[in-house]
Symmetry: C2
Subunit: 209 residues, 2 copies
Amino acid sequence: MPVPGEERALNAEAIQRIAPCSGHAIELRAGDQLVVIDPLGQQVSDLTAFSLEDRVEYLSSGRSIDYASKLWLSTGDVLYSNRSRPMFTILEDTCGRHDFTLTPCSKRMFELLYGETEGRPGCEGNLAAALAPYGIDVDRIPVAFNIFMNVSVDGSTGAVAVLPPLSQAGDFIRLRAEMPMVVAMTACSAGQSNNFSYKPIDFRIERAS
Amino acid sequence: MPVPGEERALNAEAIQRIAPCSGHAIELRAGDQLVVIDPLGQQVSDLTAFSLEDRVEYLSSGRSIDYASKLWLSTGDVLYSNRSRPMFTILEDTCGRHDFTLTPCSKRMFELLYGETEGRPGCEGNLAAALAPYGIDVDRIPVAFNIFMNVSVDGSTGAVAVLPPLSQAGDFIRLRAEMPMVVAMTACSAGQSNNFSYKPIDFRIERAS
């Protein structure tokens, strides 16, 4: 789908699928576009990113929320790094609701919140496994940009609740990379986040060159 | 002030003052209590913490919000590390409103949001300077626990707004340390956060032994 104002054609790669309850890492250069798609509806993809030039620079929820003056980012908003540099611009967003307040689900979170003892790695473990080749370990997985995750906030009490995603089959978000990055994404493992459907996530890269 | 259920007397140290627009680091052991006081009212203190045993473990907004199921933590709530271990328990809180979504104010934030060109370090720079002796640099300053910071959230749009703190002179929060930590705190440098009053912050440590 062409983006208004984009004069240069991008080279679209094939759609790739992230299997349920797993993660995947890709490299993007500045100007590349990443389209994250919910192929079946009501699935969440936790996304995090690190600069390829200096991996201490990472996608920062606190910077992005501060500069946008809103919790829920959508078309036109910029996602910033901890160094206050733009990492992504949201070019299109057919869902309109994502979370940027919660850390990825994890083995320990499953134990504490749901009493699970299966030892599933969760999005945290899956992101860390995907990022291991880049020297980024589990302790460095920050609050993620949780695409399609629907977290309500009560403006009078601050209470938050994880609700089923608003995304329907085919909904997508299109992100333009603003620097060279390694980006890790998941198909979420937390039942509460994806309405206990544990579906896959699709993505497509459109290369600037 | 005695805490219900606390059987062992603590050794209260003298109150210390953090000068306006500066930061300070302290070490706490498990069981120590830290009382952060707004001596004049309407001032914010950004607080962050790292485990002294392994400094890759830090105070995590995303874990704490997730486990409490609320944005605004107060008496009885636990502040967790990125490794999902308790770092603090809030024992008392006479204000009741703090923020845990925004990164500390910074030189770059002052430029981007307010057009300032004075190069003030902000809470980010002041926290980093206080933590430098511990080998923790500015890139590792996360979303802080912004004590007394009053950030409203519109539950229908997600819009956030930084409002004057609700804290009055003498309001305080009492935190019990749950592990050995280095803790850095500021007297906030952002005018919007402290209603353009740039006041000091006081604190007192009560040692468990």
